[in-house]
Amino acid sequence: MNIAKLFKLETTRRKALVQGYVVPESARCVQCGVCSFNCPINIDIRQYAWKGIPVKDSHCLTCGECIARCPRGVLRFEGTSLFTPHRSDL
């Protein structure tokens, strides 16, 4: 793989990281802790689920491990418009 391709890949990855959150659906959560247990960087995901807020920890890799492991389908990945460039920025 040449440098340009590698750079493009890295850019895509970083874009994905900043353009979305892991979002909980609190009504489904029973605080079992499977999500927190499987987070590779030890973010306590279930605290976000308890509070019903997106996982806004800046360390979150959005790797999807918590989403895949949750036995009750509490978590999903949701895009955010926070980092979408506005027309005036282009």
């Binding site: 659906e25 605080q31 802790g33 499977v34 927190s36 036995p71 009750r72 389908g73 509490v74």
Partner: protein, 440 residues
């Protein structure tokens, strides 16, 4: 300064404390639990048993959290409430005054009345100590027999299988959880259990648990068969722990009866969670649940009312997401009726509402492992069971809870081989957009 006392350390009490603290920073709060472990995720016991999490993960809140709430925690058993004197008596004879009291003592496993039930090796899955005990026994056990129905029985079965224990599962009838699941759904679960090595015995009930000394060595069935085993798991249902309320003169039926502000028949005493019997506007009946979500909502409403903020609790549609034989399953609304021979009353993760199905049409879509069944009323969806792929889970939950008028798609849904998923997904997009516009 108001004195609040919470009896029970489950999610209803924790939610009530959070609600009180949101409006009353100075009140004195005492949390009394008869388990030494404090607040933990009871539904999480299934995942602890199956080895998916460690014991430490069962505790969502650490000590800092409780310190910040400024509460006093007591490990004690409450023996009696004196409503007239606003006093409770503990097991050690001590008395504690209260201004507002919450009874959130939950439910406990129903006992089976068969010879041998007190032998070493007979287990239930009610609390953390039970899960610890099962894990300890499972490390040495070779064969187990499980009786009962609903979610808890399967949690024990699956936990034992994960520990390499050869497991026999007894069903009194011809299928699993017959008053919530339909035949196909039961069969899906049973097939998956068999594939994981479980031996299911239909039309089989326990006559006797055989012991040698004080240990389990086998069971005898009512048709005379003997099966050797080291462990017997029992999960035939739960019953709200109403004894304390009953003894103290509160109005009880199957649970502690509460008003829409979660208040019991005695002034200043509230009840929430598995022990409370709450009016369900969807069925018009007063029901008991054993669901985490409603327990938390009831606790929160009770807490606000205890703090003097009048807040009616409107029971939402009964809903749970669980795992049946490793298959994620969402149950919403009314989906079944009748009796299940394996269960007395309800089980954990269960709602009486699910069995209040009026005359309705069932339509279903079947795939290899995914399945969708919806119950159609005249104009609305009454309930749904979604097994496997959960894409439609949230949309169906919303449409059932908000009683969406499905008249435009009803005819399409009842057609043979109708593509249910597509029809519902399309309808939901339009319905959601209209709802958003209407609320703007």
């Amino acid at each position: 300064m108001r004195r609040y006392v919470m009896i029970g350390s489950g999610v209803a009490s924790i939610a009530a404390i959070e609600a009180i603290r949101s409006v009353d920073a100075r009140g004195e709060i005492t949390l009394i639990g008869d388990e030494s472990h404090g607040f933990y995720s009871r539904p999480g016991l299934a995942y602890y048993l199956s080895g998916e999490i460690t014991e430490g993960q069962l505790f969502p809140m650490d000590n800092t959290y409780f310190r910040e709430l400024h509460i006093r925690r007591l490990h004690a058993r409450v023996e009696r409430i004196y409503p007239d004197q606003h006093l409770i008596r503990l097991h050690n004879g001590a008395s504690l005054p209260y201004d507002r009291l919450l009874v959130a003592v939950g439910a406990e496993a129903t006992r089976v009345d068969v010879p041998g039930v007190n032998l070493h090796g007979v287990v239930k899955l009610d609390k953390l100590d039970d899960a610890r005990w099962i894990i300890k026994l499972a490390r040495k056990a070779r064969t187990a027999v499980v009786v009962g129905g609903g979610i808890t029985a399967l949690e024990i079965v699956e936990g034992l299988v994960r520990h390499g224990v050869k497991t026999h599962y007894f069903l009194r009838g011809d299928r699993y959880w017959s008053n919530v699941l339909d035949k196909t759904e039961s069969q899906i679960v049973e097939n998956r259990l068999c594939a994981s090595g479980v031996t299911i015995h239909y039309h089989t009930s326990l006559q006797e648990i055989i012991g040698k000394g004080d240990r389990v060595v086998g069971v005898r069935t009512q048709d005379g068969r003997a099966i050797r085993c080291d462990l017997v798991g029992i999960a035939i249902g739960i019953r709200p722990r109403i004894e304390l309320a009953e003894l103290s003169g509160l109005c009880v039926d199957r649970g502690v009866q509460v008003s829409e502000t979660m208040q019991s028949s005695a002034s200043d005493i509230f009840a929430a969670g598995d022990v409370a019997q709450v009016f369900d506007p969807f069925t018009g009946k007063s029901v008991v649940d054993s669901l985490w979500g409603p327990a938390r909502e009831q606790g929160y409403a009770a807490g606000l009312n205890m703090a003097g903020i009048t807040t009616p609790y409107y029971k939402l549609i009964a809903f749970n997401v669980t795992r049946l034989a490793d298959l994620t399953t969402t149950i919403i609304g009314t989906v079944g009726r009748g009796d299940d021979q394996d269960v007395i009353g309800i089980v954990r993760g269960d709602s009486e509402t699910w069995r209040q199905l009026p005359d309705a049409i069932a339509v279903q879509s079947n795939f290899e492992i995914n399945r969708l069944r919806i119950q159609l009323g005249q104009k609305t969806l009454l309930g749904a069971i979604i097994m496997g792929d959960q894409t439609l889970s949230m949309p169906l939950h919303q449409m059932i809870a908000e009683q969406a008028d499905i008249t435009p798609i009803r005819q399409q849904l009842v057609q043979p081989d109708a593509p249910l998923v597509d029809i519902l997904a399309d309808f939901w997009s339009v319905w959601r957009a209209r709802r958003a516009l209407a609320t703007q």
